[in-house]
Symmetry: C2
Subunit: 317 residues, 2 copies
């Protein structure tokens, strides 16, 4: 089968063997989405070698439970050991022995087939389009913000970054009734949020709004985002960090202590709330889709996804 792989930092679509199901479930990929993390991995982040990609919708091809075969599914990307305290409590996201689809020790979704444990799979409701279902994983990551911070309708929330993740976070947070401001550099991307009734400001103007926000979500994917985010927070405010990237961030510690700021790292979220939002049509997904390429042109698709102005790029096997 075809798969988009990173080997020795070189990115290429290669012919590889179709994965053997073993005690997991084999999924035929219908559509996969390119995430910024894929771009980071191609640059060396997480030192991953193998098939990249972790956003997908597919159809179950082989499974221990025959009733699953033919079902349309999306999949939670963290596969735990199944036995430790965390896995037993139903949350393998921090299992120390976990593999992560297309990120840690497990071939990913930019391929004709992938495998995952059966318990990682979620059936996709019929009315959810393939193109929307692919967004379950990044939308779950946006919903994950609400697992780390409770927002009240009176709260002023800033989301930094008008990329896909920032646009999803802003929409999810706006649904809670909080007063959300999206901060970004691209007028056409900010327009997507504006059409949902979300206030937007440019990065330059945001610098004037120091100490205004109760919660700031940093989703810019840039090392400079961190220090800028701190300046927007009121004393005792909360900064939620969503961006993973190679490299170091730098900050002046004293104001963080004096203002008693909290910072919370947030990575993956639960799939069910995201699927529920997709089913309700509560999130504008269509505006976040840029282009689609056949998997065979995966390297070009990655290049396109890295261009200024790009939003979601799909690969179709």
């Amino acid at each position: 089968m075809k798969a988009l792989r990173v080997d020795k930092k070189k990115l290429a679509v290669r012919e590889v063997e179709k994965p053997a199901r073993e005690d997991e479930t084999l999924v035929r990929v219908l559509l996969s989405g390119i995430c910024n993390t894929d771009l980071e991995i191609a640059r060396g982040y997480a030192s991953f070698k193998g098939t990249i990609g972790h956003e997908f919708v597919g159809v179950v091809e082989e499974a221990a439970d025959a009733s699953l075969i033919g079902q349309r599914v999306v999949g939670e990307i963290n596969a735990g050991c199944g036995e430790c305290e965390l896995c037993s409590a139903g949350d393998p996201r921090h299992c120390s022995a976990r593999t992560v689809l297309g990120i840690v020790g497990r071939d990913g979704a930019h391929a004709e087939f992938l495998k995952l444990p059966q318990k990682n799979l979620f059936k996709v409701p019929d009315m959810v389009l393939d193109e929307h279902a692919v967004f379950t994983e990044p939308l779950a990551a946006a919903c994950g913000v609400l697992e780390c911070v409770e927002t009240k309708p009176t709260d002023r929330v800033a989301v930094i970054g008008d990329g896909k993740l920032g646009l999803l976070c802003a929409q999810v947070l706006a649904l809670t009734g909080a007063q959300v401001v999206l901060i970004g550099k691209h007028a056409e991307k900010l327009r997507i949020a504006e059409r949902r009734g979300i206030e937007t400001v440019t990065t330059k103007s945001a610098a004037k709004r120091k100490r205004e926000f109760d919660v700031v979500v940093e989703a810019s994917g840039s090392p400079s985002g961190f220090a800028g985010a701190l300046q927007l927070l009121r004393p005792r405010g909360v900064l939620v960090l969503k961006s993973t990237f190679e490299g170091k961030a730098e900050f002046v510690q004293a104001p963080l202590v004096v203002d008693e700021i909290s910072i919370v790292g947030s990575r993956c979220g639960r799939f069910q709330p995201a699927l529920d939002l997709l089913k309700k049509g509560a999130i504008d997904i269509d505006s976040l889709i840029s282009e689609e390429y056949p998997l065979a042109r995966g390297v070009y698709g990655m290049e396109r996804a890295g261009k200024k102005g790009a939003l979601k790029v799909f690969l179709r096997p």
Copy 2:
């Protein structure tokens, strides 16, 4: 009166006018304590000019309420505007118009007299010695950790830094029943914690205990403390930052997001819980006292307080 002052970054004991009470309360200082923040301020931190010092015990000399006169008191160092939302809720620690004794816009405690609003003052129970009462402010700062993080008896807690603040934090946290480990560089200081039944390890050995702790309290006062502290935390662990210093800290953001770490800045704490602990004799304070000098020798006292191995240095007017 004599006062230890920082002017144009020069530290000196000078003759200045005794403060006029106005609508506040005038306190004759019995004893003041040198905090590391005083040393930082003398180096330029907070750009403060005036009389430094914020740890003291004194006797009320002049007050609107005559019944206060002659009372032995300690004082909450943040003086709010009294009118904003935060002040109205009884917590001026983040009032944006606040002054802070010997730190922001208000002459401090290394002097013969100081003034503070009456509501900032707390009577000292008779059985608490002057030398212990001076520790109310730093002990309140240590108790402040419990305002930002709830520890369970099953929690593993590491305190980094065997200085005064670290030793106070370790003792306060050990009282909650949590499993506390104090990490430091000085055998003789670590012994103080060991005598209270607290496990200690050297900074070098601590580097082997990666991902072991639920909570880490960073009280080392060193920019390198931050990155080291992150490595000790288990996924979803909490880092409490207590150190204020000039300069930048640097860290790799991705692991913080991947492990969904929380970081909380913590500065001042409430005085009453600290006074209660002092009254109960629940904290070993005596071991934290190094030396005492007359206020007139304040510059030398500061020098001594900055020496390796020094703990609390008192100044007596």
